[in-house]
């Protein structure tokens, strides 16, 4: 896949994005071997970091943080490398001397914070898990950029209007749960 196609398909979201990310995942799996040699990490940790990096990469593109100053694979490599360094930092007290080029640095601390803060993860998980499974699926599809027609088809809803209305009510439900949970947490 060419870089422009990768970016446009991720921005487009939905099924096209999903397939694009699956292909990107397969096409760059060699980086796992590269990182294994570079950082001497076990394969299980590397595979975990690899899929996390794909998700970060997607988020960076969707938030338009990726300016296409470098190739997608190069940019992704730097994200994956950062993930590996994070793992190493957790495993060792040695100072990591790897310096990441400025133009390749991950500039979305919110994502990293989300993925590394255990409390925040539990909090978000608790909110979403209080929602029914169908509502969860509909809202996740909406987040991933699926069209209302696609959401209706994927969730066995009558049509796009029903999907739209369902999405609205599910979001309302979730906001109420978030409000209750927030008050409870406070």
């Amino acid at each position: 896949m060419k870089d422009n196609e990768i970016v446009s398909r991720i921005m487009q979201g939905g099924h096209s994005m999903e397939k694009c990310l699956e292909t990107f995942y397969r096409e760059n799996i060699r980086f796992v071997g590269v990182m294994a040699k570079k950082h001497q990490l076990d394969r299980e940790s590397l595979m975990d970091a690899y899929s996390d990096s794909i998700i970060d990469f997607k988020e960076q593109i969707r938030k338009q943080k990726f300016q296409q100053k470098s190739k997608c694979s190069t940019y992704f490599y730097s994200i994956f490398n950062n993930k590996c360094i994070d793992i190493l930092r957790k495993k060792t007290t040695n100072i990591i001397t790897h310096e990441i080029p400025e133009h390749l640095k991950d500039t979305s601390p919110d994502i990293v914070n989300e993925m590394t803060s255990a409390d925040r993860i539990h909090y978000l998980e608790a909110i979403i898990n209080q929602l029914g499974s169908r509502c969860r699926e509909i809202l996740m599809d909406w987040n991933d950029g699926y069209s209302m027609e696609e959401i209706a088809r994927r969730n066995n809803l009558l049509n796009a209007n029903v999907a739209r209305s369902k999405r609205y009510s599910c979001l309302q439900q979730l906001m109420e749960i978030a409000g209750r949970h927030k008050n409870y947490a406070n």
Binding site: I54, E125, M140, E176
Partner: protein, 253 residues
């Protein structure tokens, strides 16, 4: 307080005009319920994004597991193949070494590997020949046993010259052996040719004739004769003949 979600989405996605944005932010300051709804909306969006990413990660991890499985099987298969190839290579090299690099024997070496002088006690016999002949016979055999081959040849020669000799095959056989021992294979062949095929020395003579051919470097004659020996199920030398044929075959290559 219920607020239109479309407005919240528009604000969080940065799609508002400056005027709309100012109005929106003024409401956040002035209306606590409005601010709370916005916070709940942002939290909800984060929770959805978290769940969505978790769902995507599960899908990707499944692909990764399939790829890993394929990778492991490929690596294992490769390891097995390499081990099998290694074993095959070792066997192949062993065969090649055995087949091609084993030092080839010369005709003389082959002859010496198989030639053994027949012991006299193996050749005991009864005869109706006269005393003078028997005397010469014993004299010849004494020389033969002592290893005096030239003397033995002379004595055996006297016996074969006698017209009343009834055990000519026996005498010719030992005469041939004596010539072989004296490194005279051509003369040995002539002596062996006088041995009757149906005599009790017929089988042994065939084998020693083949050895004569080998000593003379007459490979084709040797092979022809040894092949006859090998194919004769009653022949006492058939196994040796088969081995000899293999040695000669290696010599050809």
């Amino acid at each position: 307080m219920k607020i239109d979600l479309a407005i919240l989405e528009k604000y969080t996605e940065g799609r508002m005009s400056p005027e709309e944005k100012n109005d929106f932010e003024k409401r956040i300051k002035d209306e606590p319920g409005f601010k709370e709804e916005l916070e709940n909306f942002i939290l909800s969006k984060s929770a959805i994004r978290f769940a969505s990413n978790k769902r995507l990660k599960t899908k990707l991890d499944d692909i990764g597991a399939a790829l890993e499985d394929k990778y492991t099987r490929k690596t294992r298969t490769l390891a097995y193949l390499m081990a099998a190839a290694g074993v095959a290579l070792l066997i192949g090299m062993g065969w090649l070494m055995n087949h091609n690099f084993q030092p080839r024997k010369s005709y003389e070496e082959i002859f010496l590997s198989y030639y053994q002088r027949p012991e006299i006690n193996e050749m005991s016999f009864r005869s109706t020949a006269g005393d003078s002949v028997m005397m010469k016979w014993h004299k010849a055999m004494d020389h033969y046993t002592a290893g005096d081959m030239q003397e033995a040849i002379t004595e055996f020669g006297h016996i074969t010259d006698m017209s009343d000799v009834t055990f000519s095959s026996r005498t010719s056989f030992f005469l041939g052996i004596c010539y072989l021992e004296s490194n005279q294979p051509e003369a040995a062949l002539q002596a062996f040719n006088r041995v009757k095929k149906n005599s009790s020395y017929g089988y042994e003579t065939q084998f020693y004739k083949a050895l004569c051919y080998i000593k003379l470097g007459k490979q084709e004659d040797a092979v022809e004769l040894l092949d006859i020996v090998r194919q004769d199920n009653n022949h006492p030398r058939r196994k040796e003949a088969a081995k000899l044929l293999k040695d000669l075959d290696r010599l050809i290559r």
